[in-house]
């Protein structure tokens, strides 16, 4: 936590992410329809919903991997516009973990973790390595630091990906189905890492269908379908007394 506080010069706003009136089209196809969402500092949000509902697209708008046609997104007080300065500022501040890990296969685990601190934060190599070892220890794979990603199991690769994102000392972490590509026996090690991270107080937006995880750590759970936010609710209400018909049918499908 201490490392994170010195990130911005000014104190961070209480609202980590503010999305207002967001619309996005792929050609004729309306992927995101009127999304409005305020995420408080330190809040943990889990987004679920049927495939193709626009969950990934929404997450990818938050660090501007995708652009949009209408609406605004403000991240830690910086409004995302076409201005490359704003985009880079937001990306330095927002870590992202992908379903397919997306580790750099030509670099060792340690080099994967130090790349951005060295080239984006201009940190001396020694410091970057110390920082990376610190985070690799936290995700419990410091002994794999000099291996190439292809030599690691899926669960280990995903934990490296989490460490790589944390090395930028982000204030916000985005997770896009971090456990969907993993064999069942590896899901737990990654979820445990994420639970620890949540306990640290970092702001998290997680697209996931791991309902146990959602119950355990989420402050709010969101159901997205057909590009719309259908329901936002505290986990207890979301799972035990869902308000919307689609939430009920979705929960029935995935919980049997």
């Amino acid at each position: 936590m201490a490392e994170r506080a010195d990130n911005g010069q000014s104190p961070l706003p209480d609202v980590a992410v503010e999305i207002a009136g967001l619309h996005k089209w792929y050609g004729e196809f309306h992927v995101l329809r009127d999304i409005n969402l305020k995420v408080a500092r330190g809040e943990r949000i889990v987004i679920c919903g049927p495939s193709g509902g626009g969950k990934s697209t929404l997450l990818r708008c938050i660090n501007r991997l995708e652009d949009w046609q209408r609406g605004t997104i403000v991240v830690d007080g910086v409004e995302l516009t076409d201005d490359p300065k704003h985009i880079v500022a937001v990306r330095r501040d927002v870590g992202m973990v992908f379903q397919q890990f997306n580790l750099f296969p030509h670099l060792t685990v340690l080099e994967n973790c130090t790349l951005a601190p060295i080239w984006v934060r201009h940190m001396p190599k020694k410091d970057a390595e110390a920082l990376a070892m610190n985070y690799l220890a936290r995700v419990r794979i410091p002994d794999q630091a000099n291996k190439y990603p292809a030599r690691l199991s899926g669960g280990q690769q995903q934990r490296v990906a989490i460490a790589r994102a944390l090395c930028m000392n982000p204030n916000i972490m985005l997770f896009d189905e971090p456990t969907s590509a993993l064999d069942p026996e590896m899901v737990k090690e990654v979820l445990d890492t994420m639970v620890e991270l949540a306990a640290d107080g970092i702001t998290m937006l997680v697209v996931s269908h791991e309902m146990g995880f959602a119950r355990q750590v989420a402050d709010r759970v969101i159901l997205m379908d057909e590009g719309q936010v259908i329901e936002i609710n505290a986990p207890k209400g979301f799972f035990e007394a869902p308000q919307h018909e689609r939430t009920r049918s979705f929960l029935k499908q995935i919980l049997h």
Binding site: L65, F98, N102, F104, P105, L115, W119, V120
Partner: protein, 382 residues
Amino acid sequence: MSAISDQAYLRVLPAQKLPPPAERTGIFNWLRENLLSSPTNIVLTFLCILLFAWAVPPLIRFFLIDAVWSGTDRDACLASPAQMHPGACWAFVRVWVSYFVYGFYPLAERWRVDLFFVALTLGIVWLARLSTPRRDLGALYFFVGLPILSFILLHGAPLIGLPVVPTSLWGGILVTVVVATIGMVFSLPLGILLALGRNSEMPVMKLAAVGFIEFVRGVPLITVLFMASVMLPLFVPEQFAPDKLVRALIGVALFASAYMAEVVRGGLAAVPRGQYEAARALGLTYWRMMGLVILPQALRVTLPNIVNTFIGLFKDTTLVFVVGVFDFLRTVEAARADPKWTTPNTTVTGYAFAALFYFVCCYGMSRYARSVEAHLTRAGRR
């Protein structure tokens, strides 16, 4: 239902671990499995042996057994009572070999060329061997240090006591190697820029890159060379026009870069989209993303194709003679016309020597590409 599915089973004794059965080895087994496995195979094997027996002994006889290895003029290579059917006239190559290597480069300055060859070899070995340390420094040496050093050595620098040797005196293998190396050193970065331009989202960049690549690829090298040498003076006043060799170099480098661009583009297409996204999500700028994440992977997968392009480039250098540059093949051409050495076998020997030189160089590159490919497959890092 059936008797089989009703049978329950429980292992009582563990199955033993056994060594694999001995492989059938030995020369006869190898012959049978590889050369004589089927009637077609047997026929093909014997046809090949016949072809071999028909073609190879006369070649060996001509180029090795009956060859003349020493002598001072044509008499050594002409038929005489002692040697009724003289073979290849290697004596001619021995006498002329320094001309083949240096052209008219002044005798007293040839050590500079030798030093250049040594410096170049060092650079190639440093870069090409995957196991050598600090290959990043090697790249810096090859792409920055070596060109400067070579220019000072070959062209001369009166300030430090190296007299200028005009390029009109350069020739032979020196010129071939210089043209090929410069072509390679410039075509790779230029090709990368063109490939990035072609993939760019900026329409103007894209159009310029596509236009250049398609134009150059649609025109024979000989035309590009003529244009570089004939059309350049139309734009630049004669006294500022670069000399003949530089014009040829520009032509070759531009030509090769268009092909290199397509090769690099193929490599870029092999890098998954997730790599771009991960790099951008970390806040890397476009050039850092390309330089640190995308290109290292793209160039690695496409290295065999890059070397292939280099092989083509190396052979294409023989065309620079059309603009009056004396490359290796041209020196062989010139030497075989020497009246002192006119014999029936001089020309054949000269060309055989040239063929041998090009073959050794190109085969070396090809072997290298193969070994890198095998290495990458073994390493299995995608």
